[in-house]
């Protein structure tokens, strides 16, 4: 099977607050640095990516953040408009139909439509060619910073739901092509971002099962984010506990330093236990991303995380 760098359609999801966006940008950067022309697609979120590259917030238009790395962050309305215009070709018809008050109100409440058009846009870019009648693919990879678990899963289910609900029309065909792309284990993959903590790990295990079973999609990596680098080895951690124990409850200068050390050692231990769990279940390859102590996300942190991806994937290549 092709490794991550040879995939073309990559979806990153996971529990809320685990750092999906950071991981997605860093992953896209890793692709770009290997000379891959990559499009990072965000799903209508307040953009924080533009600023990291000294650019204005990313919106509906594709912008180049740095060499080979492009980003877009459309709203479902943008995506729907783009799609409808592409099909209808005539703006006049588009306006008469889609801008009609009743229709736009109706479309607003159509369940799944926002998800469908957003996924559709990502699909379009995966297929996009340089020439009108073919040519080279415009993008080597499309990386999607997908919504958190529940909504993310719904996003991936939507083409199949549409396929079941409709019997004819263009949307059925599009939906079928999307289902085929998601299930194409050579081209597409899904990565689950998690923290090494109880609830995110539980969600990771559950999500993995559902993605494989309900979507039929390949799960590539579990990305364990924010792992504290180990400072104290086993005996040192035990000595620390012992010292704090004899020092007692006093949190003066020494007490505070010892307590902070014990906190670090215990947190790291806890992370270790959860990493161990992740190795067995879901049992897919794992990338550990170190905790970033910097005050805010900057280019340097992203480069470091990108290095971790590259190394982890190279390592996996060697062991195979």
């Amino acid at each position: 099977m092709a490794d991550l760098f040879n995939k073309r359609f990559i979806i990153n999801t996971g529990k809320g607050g685990v750092g999906k966006t950071t991981i997605s940008v860093a992953m896209a950067l890793a692709f770009a640095r290997r000379g891959k022309r990559v499009l990072l697609m965000q799903m209508n979120v307040p953009d924080k990516v533009g600023a990291v590259f000294g650019k204005p917030p990313v919106g509906a238009d594709i912008v180049e953040l740095t060499d080979n790395l492009f980003a877009v962050n459309p709203t479902p309305q943008d995506a729907l408009r783009e799609y409808a215009l592409m099909i209808l070709k005539l703006k006049l018809i588009y306006n008469a139909v889609f801008e009609n008050q009743l229709v736009s109100r109706f479309l607003k409440m159509m369940p799944g439509l926002p998800e469908l058009v957003m996924l559709g846009k990502a699909y379009f870019h995966e297929q996009e060619k340089t020439g009108k009648r073919g040519g080279r693919p415009v993008w080597d990879a499309v990386i999607i910073d997908a919504p958190a678990t529940g909504h993310g899963l719904f996003l991936l289910q939507i083409p199949r739901v549409i396929d079941d609900a409709l019997t004819s029309g263009m949307m059925v065909e599009e939906a079928q092509r999307m289902v085929a792309l998601l299930r194409d284990r050579e081209r597409s993959t899904l990565n689950i971002v998690t923290l090494a903590e109880d609830m995110p790990v539980n969600e990771t295990i559950e999500l993995h099962g559902r993605v494989e079973k309900e979507i039929g999609m390949h799960v590539g990596y579990v990305v364990a984010n924010a792992i504290f680098p180990r400072l104290f080895n086993g005996p040192e951690a035990r000595h620390l506990e012992q010292l704090l124990d004899s020092w007692g409850d006093d949190r003066d200068e020494l007490g505070a330093v010892l307590a902070a050390g014990v906190f670090r050692a215990r947190r790291r231990d806890l992370q270790e236990q959860h990493l161990e769990r992740l190795k067995y279940d879901p049992g897919v390859p794992m990338v550990e991303v170190p905790f970033i102590f910097e005050a805010e996300l900057n280019r340097k942190c992203l480069e470091r995380i990108a290095d971790h991806f590259t190394e982890a994937i190279e390592r996996q290549r060697m062991t195979r």
Binding site: M109, M199, V257
Partner: protein, 402 residues
């Protein structure tokens, strides 16, 4: 009395909102637990089966059925439990089915609707359906008069107030005109074989039909003609829910983490709650990293090693090892201090932005997951401003409970 004591003693409904991953479910459970301990008959409505949390309270998991949780183990901590804690998980599908069963009287029509492919899709996927079913269940519980306090854990959404707004948006979009138009257009299209409906309506149906297939609209029209009765039932309930949420004994609690992006969202929620004229009682900041600075000692290897050597038992470990630990302790203090300073700055910013009648509560980040009874009790004490059990007692209890 702490803020949280006031919230639980003066409210009949507490709505917990916040972004994903901030500890909303755990906080909701703790609020309910605290209310139960202080004597209220409390129910928590969660959106997460929260298995580990449920396990530590003596049940396998939480589902649609309301079940009682056993708090007697808290007596280990010298806590007297005066009330009851019950829990239920919000299940969108069951809530929708419940409404259909209540509103559609003809059993044949009812079964048809429950089996309809559009109904099955709408009841699980409709924008706002989850929020709507949460609101329904809340109303059902509030009107039953069986509970002293209802704690509602809301779905995590990009906009925490979807819970309040989604039902409205939903009714707005489903305004009778819209439905009537599509039922009529769908009906005509079906009658005339899917095309050649005249005028602008015809253009619209033909154009949309290219995307969806022509039968879609007649099928949908058929569905809506049954479903509109159900929707009217919802609309009436939604109005009563809005009234309930604005009552003075309904309190909102925002939960956030000290992450700058998340706290920005929390402040956005705060503003929206104010626009909505509901009462924000407290802002809970979870997982605040609090570490003592360690002063000059944390910056001087030599002095730190000397101080550590004075601790009982250090001589048995030996100076070379202590020295090595001291070196790591120094870099640890530097790293963690930076995190603590950042969190404390965020908490200050949040506090400055809060209205005067709401209060901020911080809960520190622990070295362990919050699932064991002991951990829950520790957070409950932090959340409600009670003194912690002394570390020695904690260690004894930890051994005893293990």
């Amino acid at each position: 009395m702490s803020v949280i004591d006031t919230v639980v003693s003066e409210s009949s409904v507490v709505v917990v909102v916040g972004s994903g991953g901030v500890g909303k479910t755990t906080t909701s459970a703790l609020l309910a637990m605290h209310a139960a301990i202080s004597g209220k008959r409390t129910v928590v409505m969660t959106i997460d089966p929260a298995r580990r949390l449920a396990n530590s309270l003596g049940v396998d998991g939480i589902d649609h059925e309301v079940q009682r949780l056993d708090l007697s183990a808290f007596e280990e901590f010298g806590v007297e439990v005066k009330g009851e804690m019950w829990a239920t998980m919000l299940d969108m599908k069951s809530a929708f089915d419940g409404i259909v069963e209540r509103t559609v009287e003809n059993p044949k029509e009812r079964d048809e609707l429950l089996q309809n492919r559009f109904y099955q899709f709408f009841s699980t996927s409709l924008a706002g359906a989850q929020e709507l079913s949460a609101a329904e269940r809340l109303l059902e519980f509030a009107e039953s008069g069986e509970w002293d306090l209802i704690v509602l854990d809301t779905p995590p959404t990009a906009n925490a107030l979807d819970f309040l707004e989604a039902p409205n948006r939903f009714f707005d979009a489903l305004d009778n005109d819209t439905i009537r138009w599509f039922i009529a257009a769908g009906g005509k299209a079906a009658k005339r074989g899917g095309s050649w409906v005249s005028g602008s309506r015809g253009l619209i149906m033909r154009t949309l039909g290219r995307f969806t297939g022509a039968e879609f609209f007649s099928d949908l029209g058929g569905f809506f003609s049954h479903f509109s009765a159900v929707l009217l039932g919802f609309r009436d309930d939604a109005k009563r829910t809005q009234t309930l949420l604005r009552r003075p004994d309904t309190s909102f609690v925002i939960v956030t983490s000290p992450d700058p992006q998340t706290s920005k969202e929390a402040m956005f929620f705060r503003k929206r709650l104010a626009d909505y004229e509901v009462r924000l009682a407290a802002l809970v900041v979870n997982r605040v990293r609090e570490f003592g600075a360690g002063g000059a000692l944390a910056r001087d290897n030599e002095a730190l090693t000397d101080a550590m050597m004075q601790v009982e038992g250090a001589d048995l470990i030996g100076r070379p090892i202590i020295e090595r630990i001291a070196k790591h302790l120094r870099s640890n203090s530097d790293q963690l201090r930076a995190l603590a300073e950042r969190d404390s700055a965020t908490v200050d910013e949040l506090r400055a932005l809060l209205p005067t009648d709401s209060q901020l509560v911080t809960v520190p980040m622990y070295a362990t997951d919050v699932h064991s009874l002991l951990a829950l009790e520790r957070v409950r004490r932090d959340l409600t401003g009670r003194e912690q059990l002394p570390p020695r007692v904690l260690r004894r209890l930890a051994r005893h409970l293990a």
